[in-house]
Amino acid sequence: MKSLALLANPTRCARLAAKLTPFAALGATVTFVWGLALALFASPADYQQGETVRIMYVHVPAAWTGMMIYGAMALAAGISLVTRAAIMDIICVAAAPVGATFVALCLATGCLWGKPTWGAWWVWDARLTSVLILFLLYCGYMALRNAFDDETQGAKAGAWLLLAGAINLPIIKFSVDWWNTLHQPTSVLRSAGSAIAPAMLRPLLVMALAFTLYAAWLVMLRVQTIVARRRMEKTMLNARA
């Protein structure tokens, strides 16, 4: 508990992030090379979709990572509202563009995959639409966070928005599920066992690990940058005063 409380200090947290960053970078590089080798060469083509199935190894991990980052941001927002620790806000600010980029990557690869398999770049389907809404929530958070000049006020407003979005996210997901569906249902994590062939599941999971480590790497880098920038701004203000 005590060591956790110590980490609430942004400078200490940035120092820890600086120590962990090389490991995340190394892990991401190794898993990317391994995962891409598996995905591009060592896994079979689909009997129906042919080679286009390989888009899945980027598409699905990007979607998982994008959702996971939003979940982590909402958790950090909840903690920041309770404890008022500045580091939680810094983590949210650092993670938002990373998460938005992963969701955008998921949407873009989804379009590329949809064209050959469904015959359309975009369809108004439940899964596509709810991911698009997730992307809009990320954009809304970043726009709101940028609109405040005062960091503490912006932190509180942003945290409340993230929490409201987190409550709304499952509602959006289920409401669009009842609305219109073309995207395939859950096939990896389900109670009846995975419906995906083991030869395709392994590269998928390795790529998911690679994406997660890559996201962690980027977020830790951004945390260091933001902490450094805020400290610099404070010193410049002090020097001027």
Partner: protein, 267 residues
């Protein structure tokens, strides 16, 4: 500007100098002081049980006192409905199919424009600071404001929806379901909008940002309302989507006022 005002608020809360509570321009401060005195006088006149009713009456009077704003909103709704046939063509069958959705979009936009009345105007003229200092529980004050806003919007919407429906050639069996979906959906929309406008209340006027934040969150309401109207048009039961709308409302009803109160207090 923010730090000195917060300090004032703290002084006032400690009972130091209540007269310093609002550092807004003098006439705005005067206006809000008069409003507050009026509210206090009304509250004293009534028993404790009647407090809620007088609160609501006060908030409704705020809407009735500015009829021009309400008329402008109604006009806005009608104009949105009016331009749609120009944009998509006057084919009666097409309009009949699109009518419920078009009316819901017009209602959504009208609701967005009306959000200014909830907290932004109060924030600007300093009334909000007085409300925060009031002995009445803040969630109760907020619930009253939200209810007054909902009633005002619904009172305007229900008659003009009937007119707009007739203009768009909507089938008569859809109209009661559309009105019902508005009656259940608009309160949720007002509460969501209230939460987001409380979050953005301290910002300079930025309606685009509020729109960008609210519309994604309003999508479930729109989906269920459209589902109910579709079911009515097809002749199947509109109950499942309406019940989901009601479920959304019954989730927001006990949570939204407390969330808004927490946002306004943490400003």
């Amino acid at each position: 500007m923010a730090p000195p005002r917060n300090e004032d608020k703290r002084h006032a809360r400690e009972g130091g100098h209540p007269s310093h509570a609002a550092s807004a321009p003098a006439d705005a401060a005067n206006k809000s002081t008069i409003e507050q005195m009026e509210l206090d006088a009304r509250l004293r006149r009534h028993d404790k049980e009647n407090n809620c009713i007088s609160l609501l009456r006060h908030d409704l009077a705020q809407h009735l006192r500015r009829p021009a704003e309400g008329a402008a909103l109604i006009l806005f709704f009608l104009i949105v409905v009016l331009i749609l046939p120009f944009a998509i063509g006057p084919d009666p069958d097409l309009l009949r199919r699109l009518a419920p959705g078009l009316i819901w979009i017009a209602a959504l936009l009208m609701n967005l424009l009306a959000l200014d009345r909830l907290f932004v105007q109060d924030e600007r003229d300093g009334t909000l600071d007085l409300l925060l200092l009031s002995p009445i529980p803040l969630p109760l004050l907020i619930s009253s404001k939200l209810l007054a806003q909902t009633l005002a919007i619904l009172a305007a919407l229900i008659p003009i929806t009937a007119i707009a429906g007739a203009m768009l050639n909507m089938s008569p069996q859809v109209l009661p379901i559309l009105l019902l979906s508005l009656a259940i959906g608009i309160p949720s929309l007002v509460m969501l909008g209230g939460l987001l406008s409380a979050i953005t209340a301290t910002l300079r006027r930025n309606p685009a940002l509020l729109t960008a934040l609210l519309i994604p969150m309003a999508i479930p309401i729109l989906i269920f309302a459209a589902g109910a109207c579709d079911a009515a048009a097809m002749g199947t039961s509109p109950m499942p989507p309406l019940l989901l709308l009601a479920a959304l409302l019954s989730f927001l009803l006990p949570t939204a006022p407390f969330a808004i109160a927490a946002v306004l207090r943490q400003r």
